[in-house]
Amino acid sequence: MSGVRERVATGLEAGLGAGLAVVPFLALAVAVLGADYAFGQATLVLTYAIAGLGLVIIVGQAGQITLGHGALFALGAYVEALLAVRGVPPVLSIPAAVVVAALGGMLASLPARRLGGLYFGMSTLAFALIVEEGLVRWESLTRGGAGLAVPALAWGDFSARTPGAQLAVSAIALVLALLACRRWVSGRAGRAWRAVREDEVAAAEACGIDPAAAKLSAFVIGGGLAGLAGALYAHWIGFISPDQFGLMFSFELLMLVFIGGARRLSGALWGALVIVSLPQVIALLRDALPGEWTRSAGVEAMLFGAVIVAVVLLRPQGLARR
């Protein structure tokens, strides 16, 4: 009895602790940027963090490379958008988005039954490119490259139109996701993932863990979280098109967990904070640089690449301490 209570308490504590950590940043952002803008950015941070949790489980816990997380996010976003346009309430549509993205994760991880490492990373890349191409080509459903407008998240009298309401919804979703992940990570599934990460053969042969099943569960959970984040993201942005979720986005998410520290759940939140604020810092930096040539979009890409290289070289373990 006390054990159960203790576990729930630590879970809540982690969620609250991670949430509280963002408060000073939020206060600073409100003071500098104005409430609506700051709330909008904070909503993005929390939404990205939900997807980041999925990657923490796949990359940090189960030790698999995935280059297709953006595609799972896209699946969630599209399912939610298509259902919301047809008037399906979020209580039904968001679980549907989560389930479809989790199924996508399952499909992407099928080759993992027999493969590990880079081969498997390549198969997730192929999966992501197939999904992206499918979203572009299936025009009767997704309207292809033209994109879809997404209505505001609304259920009965409640509708999340203001940045404050959106922030609250994302925060609740993130805390619930954090609690669930904490349970999985500290439980049997988490031990299986870490065993697979450390040594697949020893895990399977010595401890009776099925590596294929462990990888599958990591991808189903990771995919579901990406789908949840994608569903919320679609509402907050209000417009989705396939090119938002390309390979670049998958790499941004990988960067997110790498910067935050892939092994800890709180790493997702720190990484999301960095990844969302980085483009704005880069824009400021670019304006500070002298000369006419800095107006080019190429300079932003160059600076973003430079930040990636610098972070990887200076802190190969990520910014958060282990």
């Binding site: 990359v59 490379i65 280059l67 099928l110 080759p111 027999r114 493969l115 490492g117 880079l118 081969y119 498997f120 990373g121 390549m122 198969s123 890349l125 192929a126 999966f127 490119l129 197939i130 191409e133 499918g134 080509r137 390979l247 790499f251 990988l254 960067m255 790498f258 892939a262 040539w293 080019s296 979009a297 190429g298 300079v299 932003e300 890409a301 160059m302 600076l303 973003f304 690449g305 430079a306 930040v307 990636i308 290289v309 990887v312 070289l313 190969p316």
Partner: protein, 289 residues
């Protein structure tokens, strides 16, 4: 029938480019265990360097092309010495992010040059065609295939008969034993990156007459990954054959399947191959026999 031959020729030509990029990827992966996500960007920079020297500086084409390839080899070696060396022995994720970041920097730098981002360039010889009776073949496709064959022969000679080539192979097989035999392993890593970057640049030059030189031409490298995996990820000839196979499969899909399916074919084939032959097609084949 004639149409089929023409489609096959263009498929083989584009497949040769896939194969060369896959070859550069496998070469680097085998020698340094670094997963390179920047081969497409190296390819694009190499092609732009040749265009800049030819159109901008007015050099003759052969000189501009060789200077561009040599310059890219130098860039590859420089990047290995300064940055990429740090990724050796780290998890794959580190190399993936590092090369992706470097690729982004290369692409951003080229994008920031106004002349590069506004126009598409072609190298001369692109429009010529060859008439063989009723058969019309694009000269650029034949040129690409011929150049790939010559290059493959040169590489084979290099890996079989030169000291550096043998040392590089030894280093790829087992770096520790190679070091004990007196092979300078660190220098071999630099050589592998120089060769890999130069091969990507050659692929860019060969792609130029087929698709123009533009900022997104590096995306072709995404099709080199399936080619490399189909070839078994550790086999240089396998990578080349995998590339040609994908090029032909894609061309045939474009001929027979509905529009748009063509672009997915390499990835669908990759997923299928990974599910059915997890050790690569070459190994699966060998085991079956």
């Amino acid at each position: 029938m004639l149409a089929l031959i023409q489609v096959l020729t263009s498929g083989i030509a584009i497949g040769c480019v896939y194969g060369l990029v896959a070859l550069s990827f496998v070469l680097i992966y085998k020698a340094t265990e670094t997963v390179s996500f920047m081969q497409g960007d190296l390819l694009m920079v190499g092609a732009f360097a040749a265009v800049a020297l030819q159109v901008g500086a007015g050099w003759p084409l052969w000189l501009a092309a060789s200077a561009a390839v040599a310059g890219m080899a130098g860039l590859g070696a420089l990047l290995e010495r300064t940055v990429l060396r740090r990724a050796i022995g780290q998890p794959h994720l580190v190399a993936v992010l590092l090369t992706f970041g470097l690729g982004l920097m290369l692409r951003g730098t080229v994008t920031a040059v106004p002349a590069a981002s506004h126009d598409m360039y072609r190298l001369p010889f692109a429009d010529a065609v060859l008439w063989l009776g009723p058969l019309v073949l694009s000269l650029s496709h034949l040129l690409v295939i011929g150049a790939t064959v010559v290059l493959a022969a040169l590489l084979t000679m290099f890996f079989r008969h030169t000291r550096a080539g043998l040392a590089l192979r030894a280093c790829s097989e087992d770096a520790r034993v190679a070091a004990l035999m007196g092979v300078p392993v660190a220098a071999m890593h630099t050589l592998a990156w120089a060769l890999g970057a130069a091969l990507a640049a050659v692929a860019g030059l060969l792609l130029a007459p087929i698709t123009f030189v533009h900022l997104d031409m590096g995306l072709i490298a995404l099709k080199a990954f399936p080619a490399a995996v189909l070839g078994g990820l550790f086999s240089l000839p396998g990578a080349l054959v995998g590339g040609v196979f994908l090029g032909v499969a894609e061309a045939l899909a474009g001929l027979m399947l509905p529009e748009g399916v063509k672009d997915v074919v390499p990835y669908a084939l990759l997923m299928l191959a990974l599910l059915l032959f997890p050790d690569g097609l070459a190994n699966g084949w060998r085991r079956r026999r």
